[in-house]
C-alpha cells in the first residue's frame, strides 16, 4: 500500500511522450475536442463583453431594438456553448474510455505471457492495482487532464486580454489578485491532499479491521475479546475522525478566503474603476463587465491546480504500468518451434538436469530419470527435496540451467509451448477453482462436449455428489470453493484433468486428511486417471506409491534411489527408512485388534 502512496514529480517528459502514443490512434477525436474547447473558452470570455455592449450601447441610449437584438445573440451563443460543451465532454471522455480499453487489454495480455516465476515475486493484489486502479488514474489524465488544461489556459488568457483591452490600468489593478488566488488555491490543494491521504489510509485501516473481525467474529466471541476489540476499533475510528476534522479545516478556510479575494477585486474595481468612470475614462458597461470578469478568474485556476494532482498521480501510475509492460517474457515459444502433428506418446527423460530459482542455489542437482510411455512414476522425499520443482520443469514453468528434458526424445525447449503444455494435465495439491459452475471448472475454456464432461465426472466418482445437487453440473462454485468440501474439490480437479484427456499426468497428491469414504473415492479416481497414461506423481500415500511402476526417492535436490517398492525396500536406504516410519505407525495402531 505504501508503494501506491508514493508520488513523485508532476511531469516527466519521457513518460509523457510514451503516454501520448496512446492518443495517436484517436488523434482526430483529440483534435476535434481541442477545437471545441477553444471555441467554448472564447464564448466564456464573450458573455461579459455582451453585457458591456448591452449597457453602453443600448440601455444608456434607450435603444430597445438593439437591446432585443443583443439578447437574441446572447441566447444563440448560449445554445452554441451548450452544444460545444456537450460534444466536447462526450468526445473527450469517450476517447478516454477507448484508451483505457486498449491499456487494460495490453497489460492483461502481457501478464499472460509472463512466466510463473514472475508471479512468485508479485502478489496478486499488486497486479490487480496495475490493471484496474493505475489504468483508471490514467483515464483522468486523458479525459480531464491533457486536453482540457488548454481550455483553462485559454479562458484565463482570454479574460486577461479582454480586461486589458477594456482598460489596461484597471486591468492590471484587477489582475493583482490573481497571484493571491493562485497561491491560496495551491496551499489549499496541498493541505487538502495531505488530509485526504490520511483519511484514505484511515479508511483502509477501518476496512481491514472490519473485514477481519466480521470474518473471525466466532473467534472474537469464543475468546471473550469483544471489549478489547472494541477498544482497538475505537483507536482506528478516532484516527479517521481526527483526519477528517483536519480535512474540514482546510475546506473551512479555503472558501471564505477565495470569497474575500474576489471581494477585494470587486472593491478595487469600484474604487479605482469608479474613479475612472467619473473621469469619463471608462464606461459604466465596462465597469460591470470588469466585475463579471473578476468573478471568472477563480474557476480556471482551481481547475489547473487540480490538474497538477492528476498529472502527479498519472506520472506515478504510468511509471508503474510501463515497468510492468516492459518486464520481458522469459519463457516464450522458441523460434522454429517443433510442433509434431501427432499428440505426444508420453516418453519422458530428464538428462543431467540442474536447476536453481536464483543464481546458483541449486534446487535440483544432476537429476536424471526416464519414463516409458504409459509408465507411472512416484516421486517421494522430504519437504524441500525438489519434488514439486521437478514437475514444474516438465511444463516449462521454469527453464533449466543445465542438462536436457526430453518429451518423446525432443528437447522441450524446442517444442511449441502450447503443444508441450497441452500434452500434460496437472493436478496441484491446492485445487484452484474459478468462480462459475462445476461444469465450467471441469471444462475451463476448452471446447469439450458436455458428454465428456459428464463422463469425466462419472469416472472420478463425482457423479454421486452431483446427483445430490439440485443443479448438478450447473452447481455454482465460488473462487474459494467454499461450497465444496476438500475431497470434492480434489475429485473435481481429477475430473478436470480427465476431461482434457492428456497423455501425461502430473499429480501433486494432497496431504490433508479427509474422511475415509472420500479417501477411498479419491484413490479409485487416481487409478482411473493413471490408466494408459504416463504419470508423474508426487505421492504421500503409501497406497498410491505402491501402485506405481517406479519410485524415485529425492533428497536435497538429488535422485538418491530409483526402483520398485520391493527393490527399494531390499536396498535398505532412504525409502526403507520412510517405510519403517510408516510401518511403526501401523504397529502402534495394531494392539487393539
Amino acid at each position: 500500500m505504501q508503494e501506491e502512496e508514493v508520488l513523485g514529480k508532476a511531469y516527466d517528459s519521457r513518460l509523457m511522450r510514451r503516454l501520448i502514443t496512446y492518443l495517436r490512434p484517436y488523434k482526430r477525436y483529440v483534435a476535434l475536442a481541442l477545437v471545441l474547447i477553444l471555441f467554448e473558452s472564447s464564448l466564456e470570455v464573450t458573455f461579459p463583453w455582451l453585457t458591456k455592449i448591452a449597457i453602453d450601447r443600448y440601455i444608456r441610449t434607450a435603444n430597445m431594438a438593439g437591446l432585443a437584438a443583443i439578447a437574441v445573440v446572447y441566447i444563440i451563443l448560449l445554445l452554441v456553448r451548450f452544444v460545444c460543451a456537450s460534444a466536447e465532454t462526450y468526445v473527450l471522455q469517450n476517447t478516454g474510455q477507448k484508451i483505457m480499453y486498449d491499456m487494460r487489454t495490453q497489460v492483461f495480455r502481457h501478464l499472460h505471457t509472463l512466466a510463473p516465476s514472475f508471479y512468485d515475486h508479485n502478489p496478486v493484489g499488486r497486479l490487480i492495482t496495475r490493471v484496474i486502479t493505475d489504468v483508471d488514474v490514467l483515464n483522468e489524465l486523458f479525459s480531464a487532464g491533457i486536453v482540457s488544461i488548454f481550455g483553462d489556459i485559454f479562458t484565463l488568457l482570454g479574460i486577461m486580454i479582454a480586461i486589458l483591452v477594456l482598460n489596461w490600468q484597471l486591468g492590471l489593478v484587477t489582475l493583482s489578485v490573481v497571484p493571491l488566488i493562485a497561491i491560496t488555491t495551491a496551499v489549499f490543494r496541498w493541505k487538502a491532499r495531505d488530509s485526504y491521504r490520511r483519511v484514505r489510509i484511515a479508511i483502509a485501516k477501518i476496512n481491514a479491521f472490519l473485514q477481519e473481525h466480521i470474518t473471525g467474529m466466532a473467534v472474537v466471541q469464543l475468546y471473550n475479546r469483544e471489549r478489547k476489540s472494541a477498544r482497538k476499533f475505537d483507536e482506528i475510528n478516532t484516527g479517521h475522525l481526527v483526519a477528517n476534522l483536519d480535512g474540514i479545516l482546510a475546506y473551512a478556510w479555503f472558501y471564505p478566503a477565495i470569497e474575500l479575494l474576489s471581494s477585494v477585486a470587486t472593491a478595487l474595481i469600484i474604487w479605482y474603476g469608479g474613479g475612472k468612470v467619473i473621469q469619463g475614462a471608462l464606461t459604466l458597461g465596462a465597469l460591470v463587465a470588469f466585475m463579471q470578469y473578476s468573478n471568472r478568474f477563480f474557476q480556471p485556476i482551481a481547475d489547473m491546480s487540480e490538474k497538477y494532482n492528476i498529472l502527479q498521480s498519472a506520472m506515478a501510475s504510468s511509471e508503474r504500468l510501463f515497468t510492468l509492460i516492459d518486464t520481458p517474457a522469459t519463457i516464450v515459444n522458441p523460434p522454429d518451434a517443433i510442433k509434431p502433428a501427432r499428440s505426444a506418446r508420453g516418453e519422458i527423460e530428464f538428462r543431467n538436469v540442474w536447476f536453481a530459482y536464483k543464481d546458483e542455489d541449486w534446487v535440483l542437482r544432476d537429476v536424471s530419470f526416464h519414463a516409458q510411455p504409459g509408465e507411472s512414476i512416484a516421486i517421494v522425499g522430504h519437504t524441500g527435496a525438489g519434488k514439486t520443482t521437478t514437475t514444474s520443469l516438465l511444463t516449462r514453468f521454469y527453464d533449466i540451467q543445465k542438462g536436457e528434458i526430453l518429451l518423446d526424445g525432443v528437447n522441450i525447449a524446442k517444442l511449441d509451448l502450447d503443444y508441450l503444455r497441452s500434452s500434460f494435465a496437472v493436478v496441484l495439491q491446492d485445487v484452484f477453482l474459478f468462480s462459475g459452475t462445476i461444469e465450467s471448472n471441469i471444462r475451463l475454456g476448452s471446447p469439450i462436449p458436455r458428454e465428456r464432461v459428464t463422463g469425466a465426472a462419472e469416472n472420478v466418482n463425482l457423479a454421486l455428489f452431483l446427483r445430490s445437487l439440485p443443479l448438478g453440473l450447473e452447481h455454482p462454485v465460488n473462487e474459494r470453493g467454499t461450497t465444496l468440501s476438500v475431497g470434492q474439490r480434489q475429485l473435481l480437479a481429477f475430473a478436470r484433468a480427465l476431461a482434457h484427456d492428456p497423455h501425461i499426468l502430473i499429480l501433486d497428491e494432497a496431504t490433508s486428511s479427509v474422511d475415509t469414504e472420500t479417501e477411498l473415492q479419491i484413490r479409485k479416481a487416481i487409478d482411473r486417471l493413471m490408466e494408459g497414461r504416463t504419470s508423474i506423481i508426487i505421492a504421500h500415500r503409501l497406497s498410491t506409491i505402491q501402485r506405481c511402476d517406479k519410485i524415485i526417492v529425492m533428497h536435497k535436490g538429488r535422485v538418491r534411489e530409483i526402483g520398485t517398492h520391493q527393490q527399494l525396500l531390499a536396498r535398505r536406504g532412504i525409502y526403507y527408512k520412510l517405510y519403517q516410519l510408516q510401518y511403526k505407525d501401523q504397529e502402534v495402531a495394531v494392539p487393539g485388534d
Partner: protein, 587 residues
Amino acid sequence: MAAADAHQWSILNRLKSHLFRHRGRIAAGFLAVLLTNLFLLAAPRVTGYAVDSLKEPGARETLPYYALAIIGLALCEGVFRFSMRRLIIGVSRQIEYELRADLFQHLETLPMSFYQRNKTGDLMSRVTNDLSNVRMLFGPGIMYTANTIVVTVFAVVLMLKINWQLTLLALLPLPVVSLSVRHFGKRIHDLTEESQSRLADLSARVQESMAGIRVVKAFVQERYEIDEFDRLNRSLVAKNRELIRAQSVFYPTMELMIGFAVVIVIWVGGRQVVQGTISLGDFVAFTVYLARLTWPMIALGWVVNLLERGRASMERLNHIFDTIPDVKDEPQVVADFEVEGSIEFRNLNFAYNGAPTLRNISLAIPKGKTVAIVGATGSGKSTLVQLIPRLYNAPPNSLFIDGVPIERIPIGVLRRAIGFIPQDTFLFGETIRENIAFGVELANDAEIQRAAEISHIDADVQAFPNKYQTLVGERGITLSGGQKQRTAISRAVIRDPKILILDDALSSVDTYTEEQILHELKQVMRNRTSILISHRVSTVKEADEIVVLDKGEIVECGTHAELLARDGYYAELHRRQLLEEELAVSE
C-alpha cells in the same frame, strides 16, 4: 401520504439521540448559516449603491467607503462561513464516528447464525457505504438544505424589493436547474454504481486469472482468459459510455438555464432601466443576486438525492441495529457461576435452519475426561461441539455444565472456561504473539512460549527473523495450514481452559507431530475436560471414550478396544485406515 412520509422518516429516529447530544453545536451552526448569508447578500446591495453613486456629485469621496464596506462584509461573511462548515460538518463526522462504534459493538453481540445469513461483503458495505451515505445526509445534507433555504429567502426578498416582475421572470429557469440536478444526479449516481460493479467484475476476473495462473498455463487457457477479460472490458466500456452520455449533457444544461436567467435580466432589466423603473445600480445588484442563487439551486437537487440515499441507507443499517441477538444472557442466570468442566447432553434435539441436525443425543462427559467424536462429513460433529460455547443455542434443559442448564450460565463465564479450536483456522493479521495471547488479558513471554511449545509451533516461530513479533497474513508471512492450526492451538492452550475442544483442528498437521501435540496436551489437560473431533483413528484411539455419530445420532460409544470388539462403524474405519495410513514423508 403524510402518514407514509412520517413512517419513512421515522427510520431516522435512531439519529435523534445523536443529534440531541450535539444540539449546542448544531444550533450554533444554524446561526452561522443565517449570519453568513446576511453578510453575503448585503454585499451586492452595496455594489449597486456604489454604481448608482457614480452619477452623483462627490462620488469620489464616497467610493473608498463602498470599497471598504464590501471587503468588511466579505470578512464577516468569511468568519461565519468558516464556523458554519466546522460546526455542522464536524458534528456529522462526530456522529459518523459514534454510529460506527455503536455498529461494531452491536455486531460483536450477534450470533453465528447472523453471520451465516449475511455475507461479509454485504456487512462491509453496510458499515462503509451506508454509513457514509447517512453521514452525508446529516452533514452536507443538512448544511446545504439550511443554506439553500436561507439564501433563497433572503435573495428573493431583496430582489422583490427591487422589482417583482423582473424577479419572477428571472427566477423562471432556476427550478429547472434544481430538477435537472436531481434527475441527472440520480441517473449519474445509478450509472456510476452499475459501472463500479462492472469494474468489480473485471477486477475479480483479473484476480482469478492471476491467482490461478498455474492452472491457466498448465491447461493452455491464456487465449480463453484474454477473451473473457475482453468481454468484461467491453461491457464496462459500454456502461461507461452510457454514463458519459448522461454526464455530457448534465453540466451544459445547468449552464444553459443559468445563462437564460442572465439574458432575462439583461433584456427585461435593461428595458426597465431605460424606462426608469429601476436604476443601473439595481440592475447590477440584481445580476449578482442571481449569481448568488445558482449554487443553492444546484445544491437543492443534489441535497434531495443525498437525503433519499441517506434514508435508504439508514433503513439498511437499522436491519442490523434491530437484529436482537438470540444468544444472550437470560434474566435467570446464575451470576457467580464457576465452571468445573463436566458436560452432559440430555436427550438433545437440534435443528439447524429447520433441518434436524442432532437427534436424541445423550452423552455425559465427566470432568477431566477426554472424549473423541468421529463420523462422516455432515454427521453433526461440529454442530454438537458448537453448542457447548453457545455458538448456537441448545434447546432449554438439554445441555448441562456441572449439572446446571447451559442457558443459566453467563455467556462470558462459560466461554472464558473453554478453549475452542474451530475447524477453519482463523488468525488475525497481527503478530504471532498477539494471536497467541488473543484470549487472555495479559501474558508474559514465558507463558506464550510455553503455549507455543505445547502446540509445537515454537520451533517454527524461532526460525522466523522476527520470532514472535512476526506479522501473520498479507502484510507479513503466510503460514502453512499446519502452522496456522498449531498457532490456533496455542491460542486455546494459553487460556488454561477447563474445557478444551478441538474441532478437527489437526487435519493439516502430519501424523507424527499430531501425536506429539496430543501427548503434550494430555499432560496439560490432566484433570481438564477435552473433546476431540477427527477423521483419524490415530488421533482418537487413546480417548477415554469414543463417540460415533451418524446422521445426527450417536450410533456407537466406548473405548477404542470396546468399539473394535463391537466390529461396527469404528472398527471398519480403523481397518480402512490401517491400509491407508499416510506415509509420513513431510517431516
